[in-house]
Symmetry: C2
C-alpha cells in the first residue's frame, strides 16, 4: 500500500473520453474501457438513453430549434426563426449526447437520428464555414455584431464538443460532423485570430470546444485560438452590461482571478477551457491560477449539494458565503460545468478533492434535475421549497426557474440536453490510469479494462450497490503477470472507512483514510479489494458565515444530501404540516429502521400584523415524532410538496 | 379625550395635496395648510430643493431623456433616442417634483425650469394627443404594440400626476401642462375605452394618474377609464413573460387577490390606483380587497425597514417570509409606492397602522436612498452589505442594483426623481382633518392651519426635534371660539408613551396608547399638548418564519432602524474587523452615553476547504467591547464599509 504517485506529463491516446489533455497526472479511461453495468447510474443512463434523448428530440423539433436549420436552407430565417440566440447549442448538445450514447450502446436508432440531424445542420453551414441560425442572413443582425449576448461562438463551442465526442466514439465516421466543425473552427481562427477581432464571446464555451477539437484533429491553431480567447478575457473587450463585466468574467484576466464569479455556467465553462489550454501548453501559471480559483470557489461559494450560483437575477455566484437555500439558483448546467472543471483538475493533479466534488455534484445536482422518468427537469435546484406550487404544464415550455416541480422543457432549455450528454458520457468519469495502475474515482457497478502505457493489462470488475450500500468490491477478471497499483478514492466524508484486501484466500483489513488508498500487487482471479464506507447518516453544520442557514443542520448519507419533504412530515405527524413548522433534533438521527429518520417537533405560528417584535413572535408547540428524510435528488417525485435541506434545530440542540 | 370618530364620506375641496379622494374618513391637508419648517424632514426638503432637483435636471439632459422630446420635434428619434422605454416618465416625475417645490417655496428659478421643460414636452405631443418618445414614429415600433414592456401608459400616468400636482399647487397656470395631460388622457380613453383595446399596461401607474386627473378636472371619463384598467388586470390580457404573469399582477383580478405579489413597484402603484377608484366610485368590495392585501403584505412580505421586494431578478416580492437581508432588493421606488398605497388607505380608514408603515418607510427607505448631499442615491436598499465595495463613478450612470455606495444616476433611474417628488410633496403627508378636528400623523416641526368643514378655524404649531428627541409639542396659535379635536398618532412601537395636556396653566398627564389619542377642547394660546414618546433603543426579533435572520436581532430607536457599520466596529475593537465577525448581546443595549451602543464579541473564522462539517466550522474568539449603532438611513456616509441591520446574537442571548 502506497500513497498515489504522480507521473510525468505524457501524451496519451485519446480514446472514448470526454476530455483528453496532453499532459497531466492521470489518464482518462473512456467508455471503451469503463462500462457502467448496474446500479444507480446505470438506471439513470438507461432512462436517459431510452426516454430523455427522444424527449429532447421531440422538444427541439416542437420549439423550432432544429427546424431553424431547415429554415436557414429554405429561406425565411429572419422572419420564422424561433428560440433565443443560443438555441442552436441545444441541438449540438443533443448531438453530443447521441454520440456518447451510440458509443455506449451502439444503438442503430440513435445512429440514424444523429446522421439525420447532422445532415440538417450541415445544410445550414455557409460556404465560408459560418454556422449559426441567429445572425448574418438577410434581415438578421450581422455576424459577430453582438458578442455580449449573441452566443455565436458559444454555440460553435458546443458544435465542436459534439464533433469531438463523435470522433472519439466513432473515429472517422462518414457523417460529416467533424468536417462541419473544422470548417467552422477554421473560420473562427481566421476571424478571431491574432490579427482578427480581438474580443471574446459573452458566454465562454468555445475555448473548451476548440481545445478539444485541437486534440482530436492535431490542429495546433485551434489550441492557439482557445488560448487567445482565454488570454483576452478579463480585459474589458465586451461592452458594459447591467450585470457588470464580471457576469461574463470580463472583469479580471483569468490568470489573475482569485475566485469564480459572475454567471456560474459561464465561469465554469471558461475555467474548464482554460485548464485545457494550460495543460496542453504546459502553462503552469495558468493552471495554478485555476487551481486556486477552484479552491476558493469550493470553500466559499458552493452549496452543500455541490450546486453553484446563488443569484436568480444574473444566474451568478454571490459574494462569499451568500448561499441562501430558498433562493438557491444552483443551475443544473452550472453543476455540469463544475463537473467539467473539476474533472480536468483531477486529471491534472490526481487529488481526491476534485473527485469528491464531482461525486457530490453528480448525486445532488445532476441527478436531481431529471425526474425518474427522464422527461421532466429542474433548471434551478432550490434547497428550500416554501410553497408546494403547481405541476408544470406538460404541453408547454416553462419559465426556466419558476418551476417548483420539474418541467418538460424551458424557454431557455439548456439543462435537459446538458443532462443528457452528461449521463450518456458518464462512464468516462469513473476511473483513470497512470503509469502504474488505475484509480477508481466514482463507485458504480462497472468493468474497467485497459492497458497501461507499458503494456500491462488491467481488467477488473467493480461490484457495489452504492449508494444504497457502502461496500465497493473490486475483483480482478484476469490473472495478471505483473504487479500494478489499484487506487481507490476514499471520500472526505468517509472517516472510518476500511479496506479489506483478499489475496490467496487471506483477508487483511486496513484503515482507509480520505484521499486515495492504493494496493499494489500482482492481482489474480479470486483476489478482491473491498472498500467499506461508513453509510450512517451524518449531521452537517454550516460555516457560521453562511448567514442564511444559521441554526440549521443538514443530513447527509454517503454522497447523498438528504431533505425533509412535507409529504413525509404529514405522515409522521398525522396532519397537514409544512416544513416551515418543523424543528429537528440532530441527536435523534437514526437509520436502524432501514430508513433515515430524525426526531421532529412541530410548531404552529401566530399570525401577527407585523412580523417583528421585541420579544419575538411566539410559536405554539405542535406534535413530536420522527420523520423520514429522503435523498434530495428524489424530491418532488410524489406530487407537490414543500421541502428543505437545511432544517432548523430545536433549542439547544 | 375620546377615541377618534369617523365622518361620513363627503366631497372635499382638493387643495394642495398629492391625493384627493372623493370619499373617506380623513381629509388630506395639503402644503398650503401644513408647512414643515424645521427638523429632520425640513433639512431633507432643503437639500432636495437646492441640490437634488438640479442634479436630476442635469442627468436628464446628460443621458438624453429630456432631449428625446426635442428629437421628437426635430426628427431622428428612431435613430437618436436614448434611454429605456420608460425614460419619459423620469421627466414627468421631475416636473411633478418641481410643481410641489414651487408650491412649497414659490421659487422663480424652479418656475422657469418647469415652464421650459413643459414647453419641450408640449412640442413633442402629436396632433391626436399621443405623447411618448419610444413608439409610433417612423422607424419605431407602432404605438401600443408592446403593452407588456413598452411602458407607454405608465409614462402617461406620471404625466397625469405631474399635471395634477401643478394644478393643485398653481391652479389655472398657463404653462399648458394640464392641457397636455388632458389631450393624452382623452386619447387613452378613446383607444382603451370600453370599445377599445381591452388590455392593460405592463407597469401599472396610469390608473392612479387617471383617477387623480379626474379629480382635478371633474372629468368622469378618466375615472371610468382608471376603473376599466383596474378591472381588466389579472385576467391574462398581457402576454406570457419569463417572470410569469404575476410580475405585472395580471395573474389574479385585483379584487380577488390576497396579497401583493410580483414586481413590487407595479404592485403598489396598482394598489394605490385601485384605492382611488374604490373610494371615488364607492366600491366597498374593492376597497376591502385592497385593505386585506395591505394587511397580508405588511405582515408577511415587508422588511423591518418598511422596504418591499426581496427578489433582484424581477424586482419582486418573494413568497411569504422570504426576506433575506443580504439580497434585500427593497427598491426605493417600491418604498415610495408603498407610501402612496398606505396614505390612501389612511385617508379611507383613518387607522394608525397605515401611518405607522408610512413613517417606517419614510425614515428607513425614502430617507436612506439619497445621500445627505442629495446627489447620490440607492436604487436597492440592502439590509446587509458583505463587501465594502467601491464608490460609484460620479461621472457615469451605474447599474441599478449593484452599487454598495450611493450612485449619482442609474441606467434605470426611476428612483432619484421619485425621491425628489416625494420629498417635495412631503408636507401633505403630515396631517389630515375630519369633521371635528385635525390628526397629526407624522411628527415634524411644522404649522398646520386649516378650516374645518363647518368653518371652525384650526391653527397650531408642532414643535419637535424628533426623531432625535421623543417630545412632540403642539401649541395653538390662536384663541379658538369653538372646541375641536386634536388627534395625535401614537406609533405601535411606542408602548409607554404619555400625553401631557396643558390648559389654563394646569398640566395633566395621560397615558397614550398606540393608535390615536384625541384631545377635544376649545384651545387657547398658552395651551399645549405634548406627546412624549419613549426613545430608548429597542431590541427587535423576527418572526421565526423569516429563515434568513434566524438567531439575529435588530435594534430600533423611535422610527429609525439602526445598523452596525464596520467603520464603527473598527473603532470599538481597535482593529480591522468586518461586521460578519460580530456577535451582539441584546441585553447590553444602552444609550446612556448619548449614543446607542451594544455589547459585541468578535470572532475570527477558520478557512476550510469545504464550508460544512459535522461539528460545524469553529471560530476563534476575538475581542469584546461595545459598538455604536447608527441609523440605517445614514449608512455608507463615511466611505466604504460593511453593514448589517440584523445582527447575530452571542450564544444564549
Amino acid at each position: 500500500m502506497t500513497s498515489m504517485t504522480t507521473t510525468q506529463p505524457t501524451r496519451h491516446h485519446a480514446g472514448f473520453v470526454p476530455v483528453a489533455p496532453r499532459s497531466g497526472t492521470l489518464r482518462p479511461l473512456g467508455g471503451d474501457q469503463v462500462r457502467i453495468t448496474d446500479g444507480f447510474w446505470a438506471r439513470r443512463q438507461e432512462v436517459n438513453g431510452t426516454r430523455t434523448l427522444a424527449h429532447v428530440r421531440h422538444w427541439l423539433e416542437r420549439e423550432g430549434w432544429l427546424p431553424n436549420f431547415d429554415l436557414a436552407v429554405a429561406g425565411g430565417l429572419a422572419e420564422g426563426r424561433r428560440g433565443r440566440e443560443f438555441s442552436d447549442s441545444e441541438v449540438y448538445k443533443y448531438l453530443e449526447a447521441l454520440a456518447w450514447e451510440i458509443g455506449r450502446t451502439g444503438g442503430d436508432a440513435h445512429e440514424r437520428e444523429l446522421r439525420e440531424v447532422v445532415a440538417r445542420v450541415a445544410a445550414a453551414q455557409e460556404p465560408d464555414g459560418y454556422l449559426g441560425t441567429a445572425f448574418g442572413r438577410p434581415g438578421q443582425a450581422p455576424r459577430w455584431s453582438d458578442l455580449e449576448w449573441g452566443h455565436e461562438l458559444y454555440c460553435l463551442g458546443h458544435l465542436f464538443q459534439s464533433a469531438v465526442a463523435r470522433e472519439r466514439t466513432r473515429p472517422g465516421a462518414d457523417d460529416g460532423l467533424l468536417t462541419i466543425a473544422r470548417r467552422a473552427a477554421d473560420l473562427v481562427c481566421e476571424v478571431f485570430g491574432a490579427d482578427g477581432i480581438a474580443r471574446v464571446c459573452g458566454h465562454a464555451e468555445v475555448e473548451v470546444g476548440l481545445a478539444e477539437l485541437a486534440r482530436v484533429t492535431d490542429e495546433p491553431r485551434y489550441l492557439e485560438q482557445a488560448a487567445l480567447f482565454v488570454e483576452r478575457r478579463g480585459r474589458g473587450s465586451l461592452g458594459q452590461i447591467e450585470f457588470g463585466q464580471q457576469y461574463f468574467q470580463d472583469d479580471v484576466p483569468v490568470r489573475d482571478a482569485e475566485v469564480l464569479r459572475g454567471h456560474a455556467v459561464r465561469a465554469n465553462y471558461l475555467a474548464a477551457g482554460a485548464v485545457d489550454v494550460a495543460t496542453d501548453l504546459g502553462d503552469d501559471g495558468l493552471l495554478e491560477a485555476l487551481t486556486r480559483q477552484w479552491g476558493s470557489t469550493t470553500a466559499r461559494r458552493t452549496y452543500v449539494t455541490g450546486g453553484q450560483g446563488s443569484h436568480h437575477m444574473d444566474e451568478a455566484f454571490g459574494d462569499d458565503f451568500v448561499l441562501p437555500p430558498d433562493r438557491a439558483y444552483s443551475e443544473t448546467c452550472a453543476g455540469i460545468a463544475s463537473v467539467m472543471f473539476s474533472w480536468r483538475l483531477l486529471l491534472a493533479h490526481g487529488e481526491a478533492r476534485y473527485a469528491d466534488l464531482i461525486e457530490r455534484t453528480l448525486y445532488n445536482v445532476v441527478a436531481t434535475s431529471p425526474s425518474s422518468d427522464g422527461d421532466a427537469f429542474y433548471y434551478a435546484n432550490t434547497l428550500h421549497q416554501r410553497v408546494p406550487g403547481a405541476p408544470a404544464d406538460p404541453e408547454s415550455a416553462s419559465p426556466r426557474a419558476l418551476s417548483s416541480l420539474r418541467a418538460p422543457w424551458f424557454d431557455v432549455s439548456c439543462c435537459p440536453p446538458n443532462v443528457a450528454r452528461t449521463l450518456a458520457g458518464l462512464d468516462a468519469l469513473v476511473a483513470t490510469a497512470d503509469g502504474d495502475g488505475i484509480q477508481i474515482h466514482q463507485y458504480a457497478g462497472c468493468t474497467v479494462d485497459t492497458t497501461l502505457d507499458d503494456g500491462r493489462r488491467v481488467s477488473v470488475r467493480v461490484e457495489t450497490a452504492y449508494p444504497a450500500d457502502g461496500r465497493v468490491r473490486i475483483v480482478p477478471l484476469e490473472d495478471g503477470d505483473d504487479a500494478w497499483t489499484l487506487s481507490i478514492r476514499v471520500p472526505e466524508w468517509a472517516a472510518g472507512a476500511e479496506l479489506a484486501v483478499t489475496s490467496g484466500g487471506d483477508t487483511s483489513l486496513l484503515p482507509a483514510e480520505p484521499g486515495y488508498v492504493a494496493v499494489r500487487r500482482r492481482f489474480r482471479r479470486g483476489d478482491a479489494v473491498e472498500l467499506v464506507l461508513p453509510m450512517r447518516p451524518r449531521v452537517t453544520r454550516p460555516d457560521p458565515r453562511i448567514d442564511a442557514v444559521r441554526g440549521c443542520v443538514a443530513v447527509e448519507r454517503g454522497p447523498e444530501v438528504l431533505c425533509l419533504e412535507s409529504v413525509d412530515l404529514v405522515e409522521a405527524t398525522g396532519g397537514p404540516v409544512d416544513v416551515a413548522q418543523a424543528l429537528v433534533d440532530p441527536a435523534s438521527l437514526d437509520d436502524t429502521s432501514g430508513e433515515v429518520r430524525i426526531g421532529v417537533r412541530t410548531r404552529a405560528f401566530e399570525d401577527r400584523s407585523w412580523p417583528y417584535a421585541g420579544d419575538g413572535v411566539p410559536t405554539r408547540p405542535g406534535s413530536t415524532g420522527d420523520v423520514r428524510l429522503v435523498p434530495y435528488h428524489s424530491w418532488a417525485e410524489r406530487g407537490p410538496s414543500t421541502m428543505r435541506v437545511w432544517m432548523p434545530v430545536v433549542d439547544g440542540a
